[in-house]
Symmetry: C2
Subunit: 405 residues, 2 copies
């Protein structure tokens, strides 16, 4: 404990985000995945259509394929009569060329027979055996979806860097592609530290508590496009923490949690300084002041607070932007609601404060107990922000709640 | 085509949602999963704490465990001096009982030794060898997190029906639970219909197009808590569709797509009527008028439009609420933005119209081509709604965009 020191420099939340932005390199490794596994993944290259969609002129309506010219002048009183030569169900096509005075019954989606240039909707026809009376003229091209109407061959349909959502995977299917090249997900090692931390499922010894942070951190990583590799807790010693830090070449990022006290935090800081450089250590936020970011062999190493609520809230505030930048995902669109505050709250002066709240009776009710309490998070629907220069928010004042889900 | 009929009755979008709400039974099967796999799953029963968290009185600060009474009157000028008898690092505990005039060095998180009732922060002490000078008095309980402060034994910490997000899984970890009982995900069969539909990856024959809908529908199902079982396209015949419908006892829901035309749609309707009852067929919306819901052996059967854009947009509008109700997930929180419309748009009269838009230069730009165009969706960031009684939205008028992501 005699190694105990104060934070060298506390930076603002905005400055921490800016340093994260500058320090994190987007992933460059790629892999090929089946399209049904590509949801939320990020495209590495432009996709150029290798075919037209639709791949042929097709009927946009059920009806009769005709030569438009032969319908001109038709009316219910003076119908034009055409000979029905063939019936094309959906998916059926014909090699026959439509002759003069002929028509072909056609289903939506079927290819337009050669020689035809329009479709008369079934509603504007009458059929008597093989005679079809056309009751209304059509112009050339009427009720036809021309080849390439949706996607032209050689057209760029998707662009490098775009994230896959269902419609974008749909366009790959439309082009017949089974697989697509995407960026790999960052592989991130999650290391809880603390001699007192016991693995979930093992019996607790006197003085031990269960590992919470490696679970919550891993889930936040999974939700934001990374692959967490969760480790058992390592004891708070130079040697053990050093062993973990030295694994940085094997991962895209390491996230430590624990060591909420100044002494333990300095342990991580001191070990890291042997191998790399500190980007920041200490932020003017509450909870989460001791959060640390370093670069070791060019890889980001986060030191998150040990208290479960501080750890998870700081993961949302600081780790999520870092992971998403690495995974090349767009900035998360925050879900927010504006509601009145159920009770007056006072802020920690000189720090941006994040306060967990529950939404009840359309009011934001603070549920924060203390940073050690996991229930501060489980009961919360989201959090509100008390800016650094605001001391108090009064009861009934409208606040913006950032929702966790 | 001679079986062609009109829709018996068109209902409003709101009425369709209401009939869905009344028709879908939430899933009742349960399963046990490891907690790290429980994200977004739904809890079947209340979770009662089987232990206290923290499980013992622990130090909330680095410092010295003391008998509070022995610090009374201490000041920097007249410190109280205590004998250091032991050093407890984090995770270490002691069997020794603190005696009169003694103190124990203690790290945040360590159990408070018997006989001590407060912690003096290290900042308010001076150490000379084994003498510790206390510079400030503390009250009994100071800087101690008492046993059960976060969670009391036998307290209900999570409730049946709650969905797991990271913090709620964190509380299970804090209680040492490795597994949890959740509702099963609904198993939903996805059946594209159409003789012209070819499986992605196989070469296209004349008149064929690739299956898009089974991919987009499966992804939307996955995103909303269901397990899609994707089938190869079945031809548009009574027999083939009947075979698929008859599998309803094996699944929680069947979703057909295809048959955008009235004739084909009636095929599905006619087959289903043999085995079950129609809940609705035909909605006053654009796109998506022909969407169908039926109950077969008590299981919901959806008939989605065949055109990719209509199919996917209708999946967001109608299928998602149905799946989430079945999976017991809360109503999706819509992400929306309000921006001016980039160009005047006119609505289809008598129908609620959903128009896909891209957000560009902080304006909503319509990207809808036609309901057959998958690119109407890939380029879209979301959609706007033109209510049934609105004919036109003018350029620059503010609109609410419902974002896809």
């Amino acid at each position: 404990m005699n190694k105990m020191t104060q934070f060298k420099e506390l930076i603002s939340y905005e400055e921490a985000l800016e340093r994260i932005r500058k320090s994190i390199k987007p992933i460059r490794r790629t892999e090929i995945v089946p399209i049904e596994k590509a949801l939320n993944r990020v495209l590495t290259e432009d996709i150029v259509a290798n075919m037209s969609v639709p791949p042929f002129d097709r009927a946009a309506m059920d009806g009769y394929a005709v030569k438009a010219q032969e319908t001109f002048g038709a009316s219910p009183f003076e119908p034009k009569t055409l000979k029905l030569t063939e019936i094309l169900h959906a998916g059926a096509s014909s090699n026959r060329v439509l002759g003069k005075g002929e028509c072909v019954q056609i289903a939506t989606g079927s290819p337009i027979p050669k020689g035809a240039d329009a479709v008369v909707m079934v509603e504007f026809t009458e059929r008597n055996g093989n005679d079809v009376n056309i009751l209304k003229p059509v112009y050339p091209g009427a009720n036809i979806s021309p080849k390439g109407e949706d996607v032209g061959k050689d057209q760029v349909v998707l662009r490098a860097g775009e994230q896959f959502f269902p419609a974008r995977i749909g366009v790959l299917a439309a082009l017949g592609r089974k697989e697509v090249k995407v960026y790999e997900k960052p592989r991130i090692m999650v290391v809880p530290t603390g001699t007192e931390i016991q693995e979930v499922g093992s019996p607790l010894q006197e003085g031990q508590i269960y590992d919470v942070n490696s679970y919550t951190l891993s889930l936040v990583l999974s939700e934001n496009g990374a692959i967490p590799i969760r480790c058992k807790a390592v004891p708070d010693t130079d040697h053990e923490i050093g062993k973990a830090v030295k694994k940085s070449p094997d991962y895209d990022m390491i996230v430590f949690s624990g060591g909420s006290s100044v002494g333990e935090r300095d342990l991580l800081r001191n070990v890291i300084q042997e191998f790399g450089t500190i980007v920041f250590h200490g932020i003017q936020i509450k909870p989460g002041k001791p959060t640390l970011l370093a670069l070791v062999t060019g890889k980001p190493v986060f030191g998150m607070p040990g208290y479960p609520t501080s750890c998870l809230l700081n993961a949302y505030l600081l780790l999520v932007p870092a992971i998403r930048q690495m995974a090349r995902l767009p900035r998360k669109i925050e879900k927010t609601v504006k509601v009145p505050l159920a009770q007056r709250v006072a802020s920690a002066s000189g720090r941006t404060q994040f306060l967990t709240v529950k939404i009840k009776d359309n009011q934001a009710c603070p549920v924060f107990k203390h940073s050690g309490a996991i229930t501060s998070m489980t009961e919360a629907d989201g959090y509100i922000v008390l800016p650094i220069n605001i001391d108090v928010i009064e009861k009934n004042q409208e606040v913006t709640v950032f929702l966790f889900d």
